[in-house]
């Protein structure tokens, strides 16, 4: 059986939905309450890392493989940059070109919400990719080092 014990698996199965919904809340309401795309993205990555530690690497790589992680990373960065470039349509770089509703509403701040979402996707994918490279791929490097020491 891959992963940790039955207790850890049950608790993480209960907690994973709460962690993911709190990360999405922090991201989407970033322009109204404390938080933002960076913190929300890291919370989402924390949820996936909890999956990896509890259920083993096969489950987590089935949810988000390293290829899709790097693709989402690129996609988030490209979305952020293209929102910035869309400001040139009616003015300058990073112009807040969307219509704003009344304050304290979820659509009250135009492009800030979209930027938060793009940053959250980018940070989520890239932090999970760092975890993958340092732990799962890292074993390969450490085995290389140990064989070199033996010789």
């Amino acid at each position: 059986m891959e992963g940790m014990t039955f207790i850890v698996k049950t608790i993480s199965r209960l907690l994973i939905a709460v962690i993911f919904s709190f990360g999405i809340y922090i991201t989407v309401y970033g322009h109204l309450t404390p938080g933002g795309g960076f913190a929300g993205g890291i919370m989402l990555a924390c949820g996936l890392i909890l999956l990896t530690l509890a259920f083993g690497k096969k489950t987590a790589l089935g949810k988000l493989s390293d290829f899709w992680a790097s693709l989402l990373d690129n996609l988030g960065a490209f979305t952020f940059w293209s929102i910035a470039m869309l400001g040139y349509m009616s003015g300058y770089f990073f112009l807040n070109f969307l219509e704003k509703s009344a304050p304290f509403q979820i659509l009250s701040s135009g492009t800030v919400l979209l930027n938060n979402l793009a940053i959250a996707i980018k940070v989520f994918a890239s932090i999970f990719a760092v975890f993958l490279t340092l732990t799962i791929f890292g074993r390969f490097v450490s085995s290389l080092i140990s064989t070199e020491d033996e010789e």
Binding site: I26, G30, H31, L32, T33, P34, G35, G36, F38, A39, I42, M43, A45, C46, I49, L53, S70, D73, A77, F80, W81, A84, F93, F94, N96, K100, S101, P103, F104, S108, S109, G110, T111, V112, N115, N116, I119, K122, V123, S126, I127, A129, V130, F131, T133, L134, T135, F137, G138, R139, F140, V141, S142, L144, S146, T147
Partner: protein, 207 residues
């Protein structure tokens, strides 16, 4: 209130000293986590919940990644002695840093009395201009969005270089690489005695 700040700062300093001096890498990673947690509580009491949330989350994830990657390595104990030259030079540079930092901090405004030139403009106009009621997000993603783009570029480049350096594909051991490049046979491919060559003549052509 000021007593709490000084207690937390001393807590952080003790944690970082233990992190440097600990012989076990796992112990030093955990005591480096103490510093981040103390900093996040400091930010919370100073009235910066945004930075406190980010600090807590980043600290947790850094601890998880560092512990996971140090546990998978076998050599966790440091046995090497430090030489005196390194200690002396680091002490001299730290003393120089302290002197210049003391000279530079004289020109800064006092603690709790910031300069309110641009900040007051942001505080008055940010909700009307950006629509974001969280003023920190309004500044980060509207007034100073170019800085955030630079930060995103830094993360992007760091992850790209980590992927390139630590990837599992495309890495070969030194011996295999040399064999392919030069065409020299390895030890196992060479016949051990002359009798082997006589029996099977193919070994010469293999070379």
């Amino acid at each position: 209130m000021l007593f709490l700040f000084y207690t937390l700062i001393v807590f952080c300093i003790i944690g970082s000293i233990i992190a440097i001096e600990a012989r076990n890498i796992l112990a030093s990673v955990i005591s480096a986590g103490v510093v981040g947690m103390g900093l996040s509580i400091l930010f919370l009491f100073l009235g910066a919940p945004d930075i406190a949330i980010t600090q807590v989350v980043v600290e947790i994830i850094v601890l998880i990644i560092l512990i996971r990657s140090t546990v998978s390595l076998d050599n966790t104990a440091i046995t090497k002695h430090r030489d005196t030259f390194a200690i002396l030079s680091s002490l001299i540079f730290f003393g120089l840093f302290l002197v210049f930092a003391f000279m530079a901090f004289q020109g800064l405004p006092k603690f709790g009395e910031p300069l309110m030139r641009v900040s007051s403009q942001y505080l008055q106009n940010s909700v009307a201009e950006t629509g974001a009621s969280n003023i920190v997000m309004g500044i980060l993603l509207d007034y100073r969005a170019y800085d955030t783009l630079g930060e995103a570029t830094v993360i992007f480049t760091a992850i790209l270089s980590a992927f390139v350096v630590l990837r599992a594909k495309g890495k070969k051991k030194k011996e295999e690489r040399d064999k392919i490049r030069v065409g020299i046979p390895g030890k196992d491919d060479l016949p051990e005695t002359l009798a082997e060559i006589d029996e099977e003549g193919e070994t010469i052509s293999k070379i």
